[in-house]
């Protein structure tokens, strides 16, 4: 680790991380809990999430079904638990892909400068003009429903969100003397990127990815809500809101309520976690 890394954001961050942040801690716990639930879904779900029961359609909460059943008698709790997997994996894939591409483009633009920077920035500006949700809807309409296509489309749409912020940070970092020193020492460019530049950008990458995850989760849920994302009978939170929506009129709001609250809680948790990380790692709020 270089001197400048230590002198960077992480240094100050480490000092402040030690200070308790109850909100961030609570948000982190929620996120950890839901990830745990997703990992252990087959073990902890009381029922097969797709098992219908004509005799128990719209059953209310009971000892047998803690959160009741849906319009085909499926256990809502089991579907919520199993729904954590696609509901988390899809936005995670969006964030991972967008972060990988965005970070690479940001560093490349900052490093090369000149026309390369202008072209990359211009392309990012153009992509930034298209809302991710719209891109996903268009892509799913063209290529057919399912989670894969919206994930890819939204990954592209999310690249500017990551890259635009990172480019500025990368530009500042690139102009610091330690980079010039490393170049003078003959350090290969790839090594400077991977071993020096990237680690110093990690705090901001982490913050952007965390906040982006919340938005991506919401967008994926919206795609599934309109029928273009997860397909039945898959348990996925957005799809559960969609299939439970008509039941509201007849007083069967359980499915919408529980899946909707779950989405809201997780999105808020990721946003609070992102804000907390921003304060801790970057010394600034979002």
């Amino acid at each position: 680790m270089s001197t400048y890394q230590i002198a960077g954001a992480l240094r100050g961050g480490r000092r402040r991380v030690a200070v308790a942040d109850p909100v961030m801690t609570a948000a982190g716990c929620v996120v950890a809990l839901v990830v745990l639930v997703a990992l252990l879904a087959p073990l902890i779900a009381p029922y097969d999430p797709n098992a219908v029961d004509p005799a128990a359609v719209y059953a209310g909460p009971s000892g047998a079904h803690w959160l009741g059943t849906d319009d085909t008698g499926r256990d809502i709790l089991s579907r919520l638990i199993h729904g954590a997997r696609p509901s988390l994996i899809a936005p995670a894939a969006v964030v991972l892909l967008a972060t990988a591409a965005g970070t690479t483009l940001a560093i490349a633009a900052a490093w090369a400068g000149g026309w390369v920077d202008r072209v990359i920035s211009g392309v990012l500006d153009v992509i930034f003009g298209f809302p991710g949700l719209i891109m996903a809807v268009v892509a799913a309409t063209i290529f057919g429903p399912g989670l894969l296509v919206p994930v890819l489309a939204m990954s592209i749409a999310y690249v500017p969100l990551i890259a635009r912020v990172l480019r500025n940070s990368a530009l500042k970092e690139r102009n610091l003397p330690y980079i010039a020193a490393l170049q003078l020492l003959g350090t290969p460019t790839w090594r400077i990127w991977l071993r020096h530049l990237l680690p110093n950008l990690l705090p901001i990458v982490t913050v952007q990815a965390t906040v982006g995850f919340g938005y991506a989760l919401l967008d994926i849920a919206a795609i599934s809500f309109i029928g273009l994302g997860a397909q039945p009978p898959q348990a996925e939170w957005g799809l559960m809101v969609s299939s439970g929506y008509p039941g509201i009129l007849s007083g069967q709001a359980g499915q919408v309520l529980y899946s909707g609250i779950t989405i809201v809680v997780i999105v808020i948790a990721f946003n609070l976690l992102g804000s907390g990380l921003s304060r801790k790692l970057l010394g600034e709020g979002l």
Partner: protein, 550 residues
């Protein structure tokens, strides 16, 4: 989807439904138990009070056209039926009688002479002539006009004026169905001069309409509303409109519709979503009404290449489909199980209804759930693939519930049914664009029959090249029997031939009949008189509505 070409109008309803004609205002059917007490009706209580305005909703959205040659769906037909009279008039109980044609004769089996009423004028005051009738029927026959009814004129060799108020239709072979078709939009009469001048814009926002109905088209604000106003010179004293104006809104969201109905902003609506009907239960504003209907829910095999083209597999799916659970949980008990895709309401008002009844009763009963038998059928069929794709419109809860039950049942017999949600436009295209059905094995269809004759529907499913015969079903004997039935003018003999065909194709045709839902209508207490039956879609129902004084 809501399929509705006029080819595919269905008929439904359990036997004896037509016997009940009392209104059922305020009937509640929130559970299967309550639904047991619901008897679908034909018409609501008569009311004669004058009204300034009625606001009515079209839950399927804004019509795409009002041209009688092109309407073939819920919204267009609901509006058009009040604007353009037909040569024959359908009644709420699915019987039919004189309309713009006061009488008709058939001097020989290949000739139909229509005698027109002399007192008919268009909205602009000009008299209706035989030329207008010939032009209107010719437009329906001519594919260049964009008509969706061309195939129905397959046996028509000529349409000609044979007198100032007489039109003669000649057939290449006898056609018992054609006269009944004239009670639908097929027999609607438009003014020749106006329609010719409007060209392709006829029936559109830009082109307008010129007909003889009890209401005339006043305005069409795209995306907002359609307004029709009373025709003060209407010829039929029994259908003089009591309302000066009817405004149609296009609310498709169930939540919004329930609020609008409860608040009185909307006076009424046909095809009210089941969830909305539940939401307005006990309303002090209006009443729910359930009518006999010729609608049906069917699972159609989408390709002759699909493993499901093997009837053993569709039979297997039928055996794991718990219809009683579906009727209770999906339709709230407001439907009947179907043992064929043509339900009794289609023929219940026919002169040959006893014969049709015999044929219907002889069909196998609706199968009870039998997983073991279904497994055996799958084993016998031994399909090349067991993962099957079923298409459904996104957001349609009824379809999704039905398919979820079916999916669970299919899993038990080793079939992996994958549900593919499609946007409504794409889904509708599946019915008419063969390439769109690639990769799809099964489709769920909500269809209806307009013409009170099973021969208006069956060939579309079982005749080679039929509009919905995508499974490639072909049985020369069935085809021959259906053709003979249509060529037989004697109702009883025609019905017997149809029964033979029905018995044969029911045993061999790969299709799954699911249920026949009742018509669901809500009407504000300040109005009454509208038909409760699905026949509304072909009769000037708005002219029957009057004020109750409340």
């Amino acid at each position: 989807m809501r399929t509705s070409t006029r080819h595919c109008l269905v008929s439904i309803a359990a036997g004896g439904l037509l016997a009940t004609t009392a209104a059922c205002g305020g009937a509640s059917a929130d559970s299967g138990k309550e639904a047991d007490r619901i008897t679908p009706t034909v018409i609501t209580s008569a009311a004669s009070g004058k009204l300034d305005e009625i606001t009515w909703n079209l839950p399927m959205g804004e019509p795409t056209t009002l041209d009688p040659a092109k309407v073939g769906d819920y919204s267009p037909s609901t509006v058009e039926a009040n604007l353009c009279d037909s040569l024959l008039r359908l009644k709420p109980d699915y019987s039919y009688g004189p309309g713009l044609a006061k009488s008709w004769t058939a001097p020989d089996p290949r000739t139909l002479i229509l005698n027109l009423r002399p007192d008919i004028t268009f909205w602009d005051g000009k008299p209706m002539t035989a030329d207008d009738v010939v032009h209107s029927l010719t437009r329906q026959q001519d594919p260049k006009s964009g008509s969706i009814s061309t195939a129905l004129f397959a046996n028509v060799s000529s349409i000609a004026k044979s007198g100032p108020l007489q039109v003669t239709v000649r057939f290449s072979k006898p056609d018992e169905l054609f006269l009944k078709l004239l009670s639908t939009e097929v027999g609607a009469v438009s003014q020749k001069a106006y329609a010719t001048k409007a060209g392709k814009n006829y029936g559109q926002v830009a082109g307008g309409l010129m007909c003889t109905g009890p209401f005339k088209l006043d305005s069409w604000k795209s995306g907002q509303s359609i307004t029709i106003t009373r025709n003060p010179a209407y010829w039929d004293p029994t259908l003089q409109p009591k309302a000066d104006k009817v405004v149609f809104k296009f609310i498709t969201d169930g939540n919004t519709l329930s609020s609008a109905l409860l608040s009185g902003q909307i006076d009424g609506s046909y095809e009210v979503p089941l969830q909305t009907m539940r939401a307005v239960a006990g309303s002090q504003t209006g009443n729910r009404h359930y009518g006999i209907a010729t609608q049906s829910v069917t699972l159609l095999v989408a390709s002759d290449k699909s493993p499901l083209a093997d009837k053993r597999l569709t039979d297997a799916l039928s055996l794991v489909l718990d219809r009683s659970a579906i009727i209770k949980n999906v339709f709230g008990g407001l439907a009947s199980a179907e043992k064929t895709f043509i339900p009794p309401a289609v023929w219940q008002s026919s002169q040959a209804h006893k014969t049709y009844r015999q044929g219907f009763d002889a069909l196998p009963d609706v199968p009870a759930v039998d997983v073991a038998a279904a497994k055996k059928l799958v084993a016998e069929a031994d399909p090349a693939r067991r993962t099957l794709v079923v298409a459904t419109p996104a957001g349609d809860q009824m379809s999704m519930q039905i398919l979820t039950f079916l999916q669970a049942g299919a899993k038990e017999i080793g079939l992996d049914l994958q549900i593919k949600q499609m946007q409504m436009v794409d889904y509708s295209n599946l019915f008419y664009v063969p390439t769109g059905r690639a990769g799809i094995d099964l489709m769920i269809a909500f269809g209806y029959i307009e013409v009170p004759d099973p021969l208006s529907y069956a060939p579309a499913f079982v005749a080679p090249g039929g509009l919905f015969n995508w499974s490639g079903y072909s049985d020369p004997q069935v085809t021959k029997l259906l053709e003979e039935a249509q060529s037989t003018l004697d109702p009883v003999r025609s019905a017997k031939l149809f029964n033979q065909a029905q018995a044969r194709y029911t045993a061999t045709h790969p299709v799954v009949s699911v249920a026949a839902p009742y018509e669901r209508m809500f009407m504000n207490k300040r109005i009454s008189g509208a038909p409760a039956s699905f026949a509304y879609i072909n009769i000037p129902w708005a002219a029957m509505i009057g004020g109750t004084g409340r």
